[in-house]
């Protein structure tokens, strides 16, 4: 990349070339929509769409060149940070702005505060609990992914183990609750810990033979494990109900009190008029509590020797072993703990949906959860939360862009572009924030007053 900004003519030529390629690609792919009509295949021309795609590529390329050129010019003026080693440039002191540090410190409390008040705010804004249902449901969905992201974050972000089959533990948790409640009639509050336990046990069973593998191999084996669980769920029909899954799973109760009208229901207990929304709000706060438990346990463990060992393991496995750390055991605890939280989330999923089927646990789920962790910045809890909001809430936003129909024609469904936008967002991240949204890592032991090594400091480290 030239250090000096390119002249406008060259810029236009370059962007024009990109637009031409986009045109060439979109003619066969986009320009005609094929529908099965009464007289065979019907073609609907969509040249407007092609034109707008080309225009978008053209403008994006210009924007990209402008940004990159400016950055290259800046780098040429100040070469120092780029001469440092890779690790050093992870945090060039000059580039570490106060606002970003503040964001990674205050972000999580802000997020939690927002999440706590969401049902109230939504109810006030829409004028009642029932109209707010859409927002609360969306909140539940997002929080489920926040929790899954935080759980996987232990495995991928902290311990550095690439797990492509996390959804398997989600499935184990969901089916555990589904089976325990429908077959044995156990209540949700007994099943929840059991589901976590089972998922954790599966984590140990899978992890034990597998965690000797490194990097790519581990990723492949976990990917296979995710698929195996799904195939077992489909084919072991007598127990799992096959592809049809398990239906009429008992709903969540308020610690034993069902959400129903009548004298022994929840509303009668607290003296409110019956409203089916009570159950939804309860589910919202339930998943929020579960997610917060995940977060708090992780934050706490990070300060303990085991959590530090996870992070050290991610940095340098050989050095860890030379320090006397049993790397297999350390990896296993991370794996099992991540699996356990996946199991909790799974049982929540089952109690909320009321039915489970293997379809909900395919590889795309694993990929989305992993993308949330990676986009969030591998280890940052707030980053993961933001990424979950973007990844899960984003597609919802697309659904609401109905006005685009007037631009692109009646057949235009913005949802179809979900994966395209997802890919674009990934590419943009790789260019501008290769270390994730929140790449700042706050040391678990901060230096207290002055630079002294006080006893208090030491105790904090060993809690």
């Amino acid at each position: 990349m030239a250090a000096a900004p390119a002249p406008p003519a060259a810029l236009l030529k370059d962007a024009g070339l990109f637009a031409l390629v986009a045109f060439g690609l979109s003619v066969p792919i986009v320009s005609y929509r094929t529908d099965l009509g009464a007289s065979g295949l019907e073609l609907t021309p969509r040249w407007g769409l092609v034109a707008s795609l080309c225009a978008a590529v053209f403008l994006l390329r210009i924007a990209q060149r402008l940004v990159l050129d400016r950055r290259a010019a800046r780098a040429a003026r100040t070469p120092a940070p780029h001469q440092a080693s890779e690790a050093a440039s992870a945090e060039p002191k000059a580039g570490r702005s106060l606002s970003q540090l503040g964001l990674s410190r205050l972000g999580l409390p802000l997020f939690v505060g927002f999440a706590l008040t969401l049902p109230l705010v939504a109810a006030l804004a829409t004028g009642g609990l029932s109209p707010a249902r859409y927002w609360i449901d969306l909140g539940i969905l997002i929080l489920t992914y926040v929790m899954l992201g935080w759980g996987l974050n232990i495995v991928v972000g902290l311990a550095g183990l690439l797990d492509l089959g996390y959804v398997a533990f989600y499935a184990v948790g969901a089916y555990s609750y589904a089976l325990l409640s429908t077959v044995f009639g156990l209540s949700f509050w007994i099943c929840l810990p059991l589901a976590g336990l089972f998922a954790g046990l599966w984590g140990v069973m899978l992890g034990f033979p597998v965690l000797r593998l490194r990097g790519d191999y581990l990723a492949i084996v976990t990917l296979a494990f995710g698929e195996i669980i799904r195939l077992v769920l489909i084919n072991w029909g007598e127990v799992t109900g096959g592809s049809a899954g398990i239906t009429s799973i008992p709903r969540a109760t308020f610690f034993g009190v069902p959400f129903k009208a009548g004298p022994d229901g929840f509303s009668a207990l607290v003296g409110l008029a019956f409203d089916p929304m009570h159950r939804i709000v309860f589910l919202y706060y339930l998943i929020l509590a579960l997610a917060l438990i995940t977060s708090l346990v992780t934050l706490r463990l990070r300060r303990l020797p085991i959590g530090r060992a996870w992070e050290a393991l991610r940095e340098d496995e050989i050095a860890c072993r030379a320090l006397g750390i049993d790397t297999t055991k350390t990896k296993l605890t991370a794996f099992a703990l991540g699996a356990m939280f996946g199991g909790f989330a799974g049982s929540f999923f089952a109690v909320r949906q009321g039915f489970v089927s293997p379809e909900s646990f395919n590889f795309l789920e694993s990929a989305i959860i992993l993308a949330i962790v990676v986009l969030g910045g591998m280890g940052s809890q707030f980053g993961v939360a933001v990424a979950a909001v973007a990844m899960v809430g984003g597609p919802e936003l697309l659904r609401n862009l109905g006005f685009l129909k007037s631009v692109f024609g009646e057949g235009f469904d913005p949802n179809e572009f979900r994966l395209l936008l997802f890919g674009l967002a990934m590419v943009a991240m790789m260019i501008w924030r290769p270390r994730g949204l929140i790449s700042d890592r706050i040391p678990t032991v901060a230096l207290g007053r002055r630079k002294a090594i006080g006893k208090d400091l030491v105790r904090e480290g060993h809690g």
Partner: protein, 250 residues
């Protein structure tokens, strides 16, 4: 204490079918500084890592404090009281200096953590100034000090150092070697030092051995090796001329 703290007998290590160590005998006695010198690729790092069980010796025995450790997994070996500053330092780059040091003490319950931290910071005052800094953003010399400090935090009986002078400015090398000497003098720490910088290493050590192509060709008191004409030719006046000591430097 009878017998040496660390002893290797007929140790051979292979990478695939290629021998990297061929029947190495070596002893490190309690309270000694023993250095192993040799050219690039002689097998020095392989020897140090073989003691730690990765790679594993194909034949021969390694004993530490009278116990056979040849077949033990690496972390079990480290728990017996061996610590190392590995080749390339291998500090945890994204973790702070303090966290790195705490990782060194990972095996202990934290009872003497404050005391040990104080000790390391006295030995390397530079680390004390940088406890909150990310290890990966420090200079090479500081990272080397951290690697040694981290090893010391485990309260080892034997400290093994792989080329602590590699890539460092002469002044920094002097500081680090002075710290190693002080550790041995004041605390009686047993040290096994792998070096290419033969002059400095032999000046510091009590005994030395020369490794050539995976074999020990020469062993003896460090002073005698320093005067040995064949060593002079191969390691001192040839590639590595002695670095003049800088006067007036702590």
């Amino acid at each position: 204490m009878s017998g040496p703290l660390l002893s290797l007998r007929g140790v051979s290590t292979y990478y695939g079918s290629v021998a990297a160590l061929r029947g190495v005998d070596l002893d490190v006695g309690e309270g000694e500084i023993v250095t192993l010198i040799g050219a690039n690729g002689a097998g020095k790092s392989t020897l140090m890592m073989t003691v730690f069980g990765a790679p594993r010796a194909r034949s021969g025995t390694i004993a530490f404090a009278g116990q056979d450790i040849t077949g033990l997994p690496t972390h079990r070996i480290a728990r017996l009281g061996l610590a190392q500053s590995p080749e390339g330092r291998r500090v945890f780059p994204r973790m702070s200096v303090l966290e790195n040091l705490q990782m060194g003490a990972a095996l202990h319950d934290g009872r003497h953590l404050a005391q040990d931290l104080e000790k390391v910071c006295t030995l390397f005052p530079r680390l004390k100034e940088r406890l909150g800094q990310r290890a990966g953003t420090m200079s090479g010399g500081e990272q080397q000090m951290l690697a040694i400090g981290r090893a010391l935090m485990s309260r080892p009986r034997l400290l093994m150092l792989d080329e602590p002078s590699l890539g460092l400015a002469p002044l920094v090398v002097k500081q680090i070697f002075a710290a190693i000497a002080a550790l041995n003098r004041e605390e009686g720490m047993t040290i096994f030092l792998v070096e290419q910088n033969a002059y400095h290493a032999l000046k510091l050590a009590h005994r030395g051995s020369v490794l050539v192509n995976g074999r020990i060709t020469l062993s003896g008191p460090a002073r005698a090796l320093l005067d040995d004409p064949s060593i002079k030719a191969a390691y001192l006046e040839g590639g590595h001329a002695p670095v003049e000591t800088v006067p007036g430097e702590a």
